[in-house]
């Protein structure tokens, strides 16, 4: 839990009184009585364990004999600790800044509209939710199949609009066909020259995939100086005879057919009509290898595996931003509301542009508040455990590893307390600069 030690509201500042406020409490034993429960609990479960963890990090797990820095070097020899340190570094470098910046932007924007408060409430509602629920929410969102995961479904809408899925993504070459499915498309094994015909019988095309404008397929007719081709669905209810264009079998429109010369370059490309036929009027000499272009069979966007090892950390960062930016919005928003309005007005009267006011007055005045948000988020990110542990699937957990998670897994799954204690000390060392910062600020505010 917690905390940048500061009170960000003007109200809070005014509330805090000077030190040496108390003439009372003359009886030290009564002070002791008030303090006793807190001191006992803090002593037994915070201070003593902290000292003991540091001690254990220099001791053998079972015998507790001193081993110097052995636990530390063993920790640093492990891939998981190295990954954890790297990932925690990435988190600390990226996330507090993104949240503080995002908070500032959203706070400024929501202030401008009447229903801004409602947007603020929505933004910071996820703060009340457990990391476990946040993890489950985003597991559902990040499902890799675009038919099941909303993130991929939305990306897919964009990706397919740009690249476009093919007309017949699942089609395969039918039986009794002299064609081969390659990365370039459905390539005929038969070479053609002017006056020849060629057919492409495809199967595994569902009724839904056959476009409504499709008509009865026709056998291509040889024509002088031209090459004609038909692409059709070599299947009709009941099956039909493979390799033959029969009554009831549809031509496949919108399939680009290409002629490839011996050097491998495409010399002509035409799209099939509603009966599946296409005619190359004047293809030139040849011979050519005809093929149905690969784009026809492009399966379109198949979805990113957001939670696979390669993407898991950025994806969890996304979920964490979703869950945490509301905190920044509320704290920064309160800070904005407390800005001295006359100062801003004076600057405007003096002819400062809105950008100058923002840059030279608002930002400097807001610096302490932005600092509090930044530091609070830095601590949270350093101690990050549950959202990673819940969101990363088993296969990705090593790739998503962070220091606090590594500490738990080492200590309580592998039962290696010595190395676990060393990792905990790493974590402690990372928060010490913030501790010093907090103490300094506290002393300054008190005096």
């Amino acid at each position: 839990m917690a905390v940048a030690a500061s009170d960000v509201t003007a109200k809070g500042k005014a509330r805090r009184s000077r030190p040496d406020r108390s003439p009372g409490g003359r009886k030290p034993w009564s002070a002791a009585g008030f303090l006793l429960p807190a001191l006992l609990l803090l002593g037994a479960l915070v201070v003593y364990p902290l000292v003991d963890t540091i001690a254990q990090s220099f001791q053998d797990s079972s015998t507790r004999a001193p081993v110097g820095f052995e636990n530390y070097s063993r920790a640093l020899d492990r891939d998981s600790t190295i990954t954890a340190l790297k990932n925690t570094f990435v988190w600390v470098v990226l996330v507090p800044g993104l949240i503080t910046g995002g908070g500032l932007i959203f706070a400024v924007l929501t202030e401008r509209v009447r229903y801004g408060t409602a947007v603020k409430v929505i933004l910071f509602m996820p703060m009340a939710i457990s990391a476990l629920s946040v993890g489950v929410i985003w597991r559902v969102m990040y499902e890799p199949d675009p038919d099941r995961g909303l993130v991929n479904a939305l990306v897919g809408v964009g990706a397919n609009a740009v690249a476009g899925a093919g007309a017949y993504p699942n089609a395969t070459a039918g039986a009794e066909q002299d064609i081969e499915q390659t990365s370039a498309g459905m390539t005929s094994n038969q070479e053609v020259s002017a006056g020849d015909t060629v057919v492409f019988g495809l199967t595994a095309i569902t009724d839904a995939e056959v476009p409504p404008e499709a008509e009865q397929a026709v056998m291509p007719e040889a024509a002088e100086g031209a090459i004609t081709a038909t692409v059709w669905r070599d299947f009709k209810p009941g099956g039909g005879t493979p390799g033959e264009i029969e009554e009831g079998e549809f031509g496949l429109p919108n399939a680009p057919v290409e002629l490839v010369d011996e050097s491998g370059s495409v010399v002509a490309s035409e799209v099939t009509g509603s009966n599946g036929s296409v005619t190359f009027e004047d293809p030139g000499g040849g011979p050519f290898t005809p093929r149905v272009a690969a784009a026809t069979f492009d399966e379109g966007f198949q979805g990113f595996s957001w939670l696979a090892p390669a993407l898991v950390t950025p994806s969890i960062i996304g979920a964490f931003l979703w869950a945490s930016v509301g905190f920044a919005v509320v704290v920064v928003g309160a800070g904005l509301a407390a800005l001295p309005r006359d100062l801003l007005e004076a600057a405007r009267t003096d002819g400062a542009t809105e950008w100058q006011v923002f840059r030279h007055i608002t930002i400097p005045l807001m610096a302490p508040v932005l600092g509090v948000v930044f530091i609070t988020m830095t601590i949270n990110v350093l101690k990050l455990f549950d959202i990673v542990y819940v969101t990363a699937p088993g296969a990705s957990i090593e790739a998503a590893q962070v220091v606090a998670l590594d500490m738990w897994r080492t200590s309580f799954q592998a039962r290696n307390f010595g190395v676990g204690a060393a990792i905990a000390v790493f974590l402690f060392l990372m928060v010490i600069p913030i501790m010093v910062l907090n103490l300094r600020r506290f002393r300054r505010e008190e005096s």
Binding site: A2, G25, T53, V136, I137, F412
Partner: protein, 299 residues
């Protein structure tokens, strides 16, 4: 300029928002795009949670076939069976009970223990007070990972490991630094004259604490209580390490996630069940929630 139009309505709202700031961006955004942008942002923040809600009403078979949004075209997918099964699931129900047994007493205890200490720090004179309080401030950022190993040994020795008591005690201890810090700052702002008058009237420290400090400190105490409750209710790590057979709901749902795809009918409604209480608390006590957030920046 749109800000001029806004200026007409301004006097009424003058105390609520700071218009200069709202004017600031006026030249850079016209209202329309801003509204659309904020609506999109709002949707983006609501839809994921809504997706979980819908998912919690679908069968695992439906989950493995299609996205939750297909319920809009095929409402027949919706089933209440998941929740019915969940409430028949002894281990889940037990976990929910444990969560209540942990969250309620530990939040109350933190507030009581911290209020006592905060009063001493704010209004009593004793040797080493300032140093001791600096120590509390230092403890604000100590990661609880620093205490897990020794504390689990302590709990083993005392025989409370694996009971709710271990989880409760640990939550209290690690909630205290923030709680003491927050309450001490608030108590210190209570007017000195009130306390002096009470002391002249011969009230004991305990009486002053009970009759004066606690009632006057209620806003801060309420904020703290809410935060502590949400924190302990939502906790996974402490329950995971010390809970054992008395693990809270978070731990039990996490265990189900090992077989994520086939257990989605437990995980989704379980995760949603876990969210309901914090959301109710959040909406019912939003004011205190925000106050607590601002009075110290939190969790």
């Amino acid at each position: 300029m749109s800000a001029t139009a806004e200026g007409v309505a301004q006097p009424r709202e003058a105390t609520k928002t700071s218009e200069p700031l709202t004017q600031r961006m006026a030249g850079r955004f016209s209202r329309g795009p801003l509204y659309i942008f904020l609506v999109l942002v709002g949707l983006f923040w609501i839809i994921p949670s809504f997706g979980l809600l819908v998912t919690s009403f679908r069968t695992p078979a439906a989950y493995s076939e299609s996205g939750w949004w297909t319920v809009f075209t095929d409402p027949a997918q919706i089933t209440f069976q998941n929740y019915a099964d969940l409430l028949q699931n002894d281990s889940i129900v037990n976990g929910l009970l444990n969560t209540v047994k942990i969250a309620v007493p530990s939040s109350i205890a933190v507030v009581v223990v911290a209020a006592l200490a905060a009063y001493a720090f704010a209004w009593m004179k004793f040797k080493g007070r300032d140093l001791l309080f600096l120590l509390v401030v230092a403890m604000l950022v100590v990661p609880l990972q620093m205490a897990l190993i020794p504390a689990s040994r302590l709990f083993n020795i005392t025989g409370i490991f694996g009971t709710v008591w271990a989880v409760i005690l640990f939550h209290i201890a690690f909630g205290l630094p923030f709680a003491i810090f927050l309450l001490r700052n608030f108590f210190a702002g209570i007017p000195k004259d009130l306390l002096e008058a009470a002391r002249i009237d011969g009230a004991s420290e305990w009486q002053i604490f009970r009759r004066l400090i606690l009632p006057l400190g209620m806003p801060a105490i309420a904020s703290l209580l809410i935060f502590q409750f949400l924190w302990t209710w939502n906790d996974l790590l402490v329950g995971l390490v010390f809970g054992g057979e008395s693990a809270p709901l978070t731990v039990l749902i996490r265990q189900q996630m090992r077989t994520y795809g086939t257990s989605i009918d437990v995980i989704a409604p379980g995760a949603f069940l876990l969210m309901i209480v914090p959301l109710i608390v959040f909406f019912a006590f939003q004011r205190y929630f925000v106050q607590g957030l601002l009075a110290g920046a939190v969790k």
